[in-house]
Point group: C2
Chain length 440, copies 2
């Protein structure tokens, strides 16, 4: 391999974090050192692993002499820094210190990127250091690089991801076994797919961080968590699932980033995470259990999907090492850092501007004129109904009829107003659920 | 974007070929010139389109002054050459001329790469020019770059692709409608999914070229067509499909490149294309119609799948333009060409060394002792039977019983010997079909 004149024969790699992914990254750096040397053209020398407790039990045990609590010293001497500590601090300060010194950084820290991305991207650009984070979204699945490079001559219009394995496992169980949310969550916890405190997963916050990162690559601006409209899956009932299944849909928690238009016609990006009805024949519908997948729509490429394990030590470490090898090759060969392909930065739009279809379930009185009045409310707000199905209520505590409506694409803002007006109708007992529909 | 001191403000792009993909590439270069300028940091100036007939009707019509029959002159003045003529000559000579002059080339020419890849890769390496060919495999689906870069820190063990849309369409129709091969082919031809002469598709030659290219990226050596064991789909019957469906499988034509071992234990690559039984729940099994998908197994990443349109003008042009933008960015920013990540080149193995499972359908006499004798032949050759099902023959012209056996993983060589011995048994009327099984 051609190398520039003063190409190094070894690169010092500092690893911050000794958890599941950190341990597997250390294992690959150690066990696959020969392969990595061949590919990079220099040794990747693991100089240390910064941990909180050097004596802790690990997934994979490196040479005990490598563990240190002095992360700052480790970063100071490194050619490449791998940050897998998670959390905001001290990860943020350590990464900023490395980038300021011109040292390239690989991180899988989605929460940090979704909250402080702008600061980190600016720090990298200032010194020409590289900041890579393929592992931050959908584990081992190569998605950021294809979005940036492979679609570099195209225009991405929408990205929809099943980006959280815990919620996909739970929804899959609810769909396939008719389970309640609580039972499916308990099973996920028992099998290790959900944490004791599942809030970040089931409330959609983890998926929202991934939506912000995917949007940053696809639409250019450093979007943050607070620009993502988030709804989790805790309110999904077995009844919602049954209604979805009957209409030919499956419910998935999707992280969506898409081009849209503001009320004044200006182009922007809409970011949202919510339980979504997908037609059973949609490629994302067959993503089962704890797997992840990202569905991409681009003007010329059409519809693409990327599928694989969304978490796990070795898969995520594979994504980390792909970034490390790319950076190391560039250091050895010379030449400027690989920059983010500049794409025109779209402003984040108010999620109320999103256009989707909706499934609305109402409990209403079983009497003449109800259908006409309900349909009138939709018409008034400019929301067009695609299908309507009336079924007698099965709940003894809620007599009357259950109305299940699926709309054509409508603006979120108009639907919100429709739902408010429906709830105010005397013949409507309850708006039982409102779920968005995509992929039709 | 940082640019090196003498960065050009415009790059001359020569387009060879004005067919479906060529026209769409010209359209993108023309209509999306602003976006491309933003991303590259310089204008991409389409200097001409080399065609055989400047007056022909096109999918998309560029400025008439751009069409020329003088491909050589166009190549001589270019900064980037896009070759979309197809065929071996004059494409090969024109690409070699460009590479020799240090001009980077983007091509979608799978036949050329699968036959003359070694010569082309060497010509690029000699001058430091780049040769990119994402469009040559699976149309718009980003697969070569993820294999090379995203998995640059991992070890790919197997690649299995539905890489030919025509055959997938035909097999899909046979599966979903119980159609015969001839009827499904006729329908594919009527709908424009199959050519008037469908040989290259249905005999597996197109998929074999893609297997060679995928293997080249995954396993390092410039594999050629003649190293791929090829079987097409013309012999697949409605009965095969029924037998597969009954056992829970679907038949797909797969292009497979995998690590294997020679008889002496040396590691190598096995390349093969054949109709394959896949369990219905396998991610590749749900790839319908003319879509493509590539399933990748890697040591750390686990199982990944890449899905999308495998052909079509705009999707394939999107892949071409992703390569063009990457090359143009590198020219503008400076630095050496992006080389193929060196992976240890594995020698191509004799495909008889492949290990797979098999479904064997026999027509045999319906008499005592047949099962014992058939099982004895498998045992003799070291091939272990997983399931066996005996059904009365439904064919009046072939009385007796039909035996459907699925084996555990066995060596192709041993299975071949087993089949030969089965055919020689007096109680066996016919070995009706032998199909490989993957994904269990």
């Amino acid at each position: 391999m051609p190398q520039h004149t003063d190409a190094p024969t070894a690169l010092k790699v500092a690893l911050l974090g000794g958890g599941t992914v950190g341990s597997q990254t250390a294992r690959i750096l150690t066990e696959d050192a020969d392969i990595l040397r061949d590919r990079v053209g220099a040794d990747l020398e693991l100089t240390g692993i910064a941990v909180r407790d050097t004596g802790a039990t690990r997934d994979w045990q490196a040479d005990p002499a490598l563990y240190t609590t002095d992360a700052e010293a480790l970063v100071a001497g490194a050619d490449v820094v791998i940050e897998l500590m998670g959390g905001i601090e001290p990860a943020r300060t350590l990464i900023l210190r490395a980038l300021a010194a011109g040292t390239s950084v690989v991180t899988g820290n989605k929460a940090l990127l979704a909250q402080h991305g702008e600061e980190l991207y600016a720090a990298a650009a200032a010194t020409g250091a590289q900041l890579s984070f393929e592992a931050a979204v959908a584990g081992a699945i190569p998605i950021l690089r294809p979005l940036r490079d492979s679609l570099g001559g195209d225009r991405v219009t929408r990205v929809m991801g099943i980006a959280n394995g815990t919620t996909n496992f739970i929804l899959d169980r609810m769909d396939s076994e008719g389970a309640d949310f609580d039972d499916a969550l308990a099973e996920a916890q028992r099998l290790g797919y959900a944490e004791a405190d599942p809030t970040a997963d089931v409330e959609g916050h983890d998926a929202a961080a991934k939506a912000a990162i995917l949007a940053t690559i696809a639409f250019g601006a450093p979007y943050t968590l607070d620009q993502v409209a988030v709804a989790g899956i805790t309110a999904i009932t077995a009844e919602d699932n049954a209604a979805a299944a009957e209409a030919g849909y499956v419910i998935k928690l999707l992280a969506i980033a898409e081009r849209g238009r503001a009320a004044d016609g200006a182009e922007g990006a809409v970011l949202r995470v919510h339980p979504t009805l997908l037609p059973r024949e949609h490629p994302l519908a067959s993503v089962r259990g704890a797997f992840n997948a990202v569905f991409v729509e681009a003007e010329n490429a059409g519809e693409l999907m990327f599928y694989g394990p969304g978490a796990g030590g070795a898969p995520t470490a594979s994504a980390v090492m792909g970034d490390v090898v790319s950076i190391a090759q560039r250091i050895v060969r010379g030449g400027p850092a690989r920059l983010r392909t500049p794409v025109t930065a779209l402003p984040a739009l108010d999620p109320a501007e999103a256009h989707t279809s909706f499934m609305v379930v109402l409990r209403a009185a079983d009497q003449p004129g109800v259908l006409r009045r309900v349909a009138g409310v939709f018409e008034e707000h400019g929301v067009s109904i695609e299908t309507l199905r009336q079924v007698p209520s099965e709940r003894e505590d809620a007599p009357g009829a259950s109305l299940r409506l699926i709309t054509h694409r409508a603006r979120q803002r108009d639907l919100d107003a429709t739902v408010e007006a429906l709830a105010a109708l005397d013949v409507v007992h309850e708006v039982a659920s409102v779920l968005r529909v995509e992929g039709n």
